[in-house]
């Protein structure tokens, strides 16, 4: 009888479906209505019992009665419930008429929960599923290592600088930057055309004499430009850009003579570090001494 079964399984002896946790006991039996291990919810300890279970999206009502207790194969009677929620509830009521209130109530509750989660499943499958691709640790590590090595081999800064200088040489920037080497090339081209060359030489020699002081001053400034602070100041507005271009142009006019005498150029560039104080006409003599 069910009382005996319960007094054995429920409290004292071992029930293989029972799962104990700190606060509660659960029942793992697939026909259990509430999932807890109680006197009223144990499908083994109640001779009249009913559950709602779903299979492949359809819900069934399972019932067990005392009459069939001797026939385990026919013990559980299965009724398909309609897809319509209200109709299914009525069907449950119909089938479980005159059954204890507890079982009826719990069956309906369980059925509600089941339909809710079935709806959610259907909604989720319509949305995009996130596909989880497992990372392979060894491969991830290998790729990270190779990336580091490739980064070192790439020497990005050098490559970018080289590329920019290439573009400068190939004149993609047009007239924005005027540097001595361009002036030198232009001067060379002008020299090839004979008539113009001499007059240019005269003009540039005159510049040479006049702008001695300024040239030295300008070169000292040049080394300061390498600070990034200056670059930031230059970036802020286009007006300052124009000012910078003007300065560059001034430098150009002063240093055009350098283009004429390339050998002396680098040697003279070292001067400012030594001779910043000397800005007077005595310069030419010091030049010869140093040379």
């Amino acid at each position: 009888s069910p009382q005996v079964v319960w007094s054995m399984l429920g409290n004292r002896q071992f029930c293989s479906y029972k799962m104990t946790t700190k606060t509660q006991n659960f029942c793992r039996n697939e026909y259990n209505l509430t999932g807890l291990c109680n006197r009223s919810s144990c499908p083994l300890a109640n001779s009249q019992y009913a559950t709602v279970r779903e299979e492949k999206g359809r819900c069934y009502l399972y019932m067990k009665t005392i009459e069939r207790a001797a026939f385990p194969r026919r013990l559980w009677e299965r009724v398909l419930l309609s897809k319509n929620y209200e109709k299914a509830l009525e069907e449950i009521d119909e089938n479980l008429i005159y059954w204890p209130r507890f079982i009826r109530h719990k069956c309906k509750q369980r059925f509600t929960k089941i339909t809710q989660y079935l709806i959610r499943i259907r909604k989720l499958t319509l949305k995009r599923q996130r596909k989880l691709v497992p990372l392979r640790r060894k491969i991830e590590r290998r790729e990270n290592r190779r990336e580091e090595k490739a980064l070192i081999a790439a020497q990005l800064d050098n490559a970018i600088e080289k590329e920019l200088l290439e573009r400068l040489k190939q004149d993609t920037y047009g007239d924005i930057y005027n540097f001595p080497i361009h002036a030198f090339d232009k001067a060379l081209q002008q020299q090839d055309a004979e008539s113009e060359s001499e007059s240019d030489a005269e003009r540039e020699e005159e510049d040479d004499d006049e702008d001695v002081d300024k040239r030295e001053f300008v070169e000292a400034e040049d080394s300061e430009l390498s600070d990034f602070e200056d670059m930031d100041k230059l970036e802020t507005s286009s007006e300052e850009e124009q000012e910078e271009e003007e300065e560059v142009e001034k430098k150009v006019s002063h240093s055009k003579s350098k283009g004429k005498t390339p050998l002396k150029g680098p040697a003279r560039r070292k001067r400012p570090y030594i001779e910043i104080e000397y800005e007077e006409e005595t310069e030419p003599s010091t030049k010869t001494k140093a040379a």
Binding site: N144, L151, L156, A159, E161, L164, H182, L225, M231, S238
Partner: protein, 324 residues
Amino acid sequence: AGEGSGPVPGDGTGPPAPEQVLFPPTFSVSEIKNKQRRHFMFLRWKQQQRKEKLALKKKRKKEREALGDKAPPKAVPKTIENQRVYDETTVDPNDEEVAFDEATDEFAPYFNRQTVPKILITTSDRPRGRTVRFCEQLATVIPNSHVYYRRGLALKRIIPQCIARDFTDLIVINEDRKIPNGLVLSHLPDGPTAHFRMSSVRLRKEIKRKGKEPTVHVPEVILNNFTTRLGHSIGRMFAALFPHDPQFIGRQVATFHNQRDYIFFRFHRYIFKSEKKVGIQELGPRFTLKLRSLQKGTFDSKFGEYEWIHKRREMDTSRRKFHL
């Protein structure tokens, strides 16, 4: 043979003068069963090897100096780039077939200046803070780009809308565990779709010695080392993101540098200090990409026609073989 192997080999802790010990000619260090002794013998062998190598180097150097001018030129060290397996799809600069292909492929309208690039940047669902900030910074780097939140929309539905609103490119940044780790770049009017794995993402505040924010000027583009046909098409994809005419006033340059199949992206501001020296300052985010697949049409994972997929078993077998 007997007298040699009598005194125990591996006499490190015992009496000194190991030179007197002779070993049978077939003896090898790995045959000693005792780990400590084996280890000791191995270290000794290693030291000997190193000494020999050093002696050899010195000798060579002396010979070199002795020869002076007549010395043979220094041998070029082998690097992975030197030893790279020759790829048959390497593009020859004068190849007509390639030039013809490029004149008629999906990027032709861009390179003929018929279209102005307009870019849509978005992420996967529910992006976290880092990804959002990265998208914003990317939007400042790429001119004429807009960031939109994904909000669970399907890409297949977004794409026709984008085409209707005249977008030329779509960038989707995929996120995993709060960091961006993938990039899908799709050229819109049914252009190719490239899927990259993204790594080492550094936001602007994490870059040391950086400059101020990038301005709205159109930057220049540098594409380095895209040699094969595949590399060429990817390079063109990147080039098509930026408007055709860079504003040199801005002095900004965006670089895509390919090295051993890793594409490094950097964004710099440059200044020419003289005709032989240029200074660069890094602004803007940086990241590295590795190509995973290239698809012919727009993004379609199920029915798309893949032009190139990275197959690990076949393509990763040689350390000197690269595909881009």
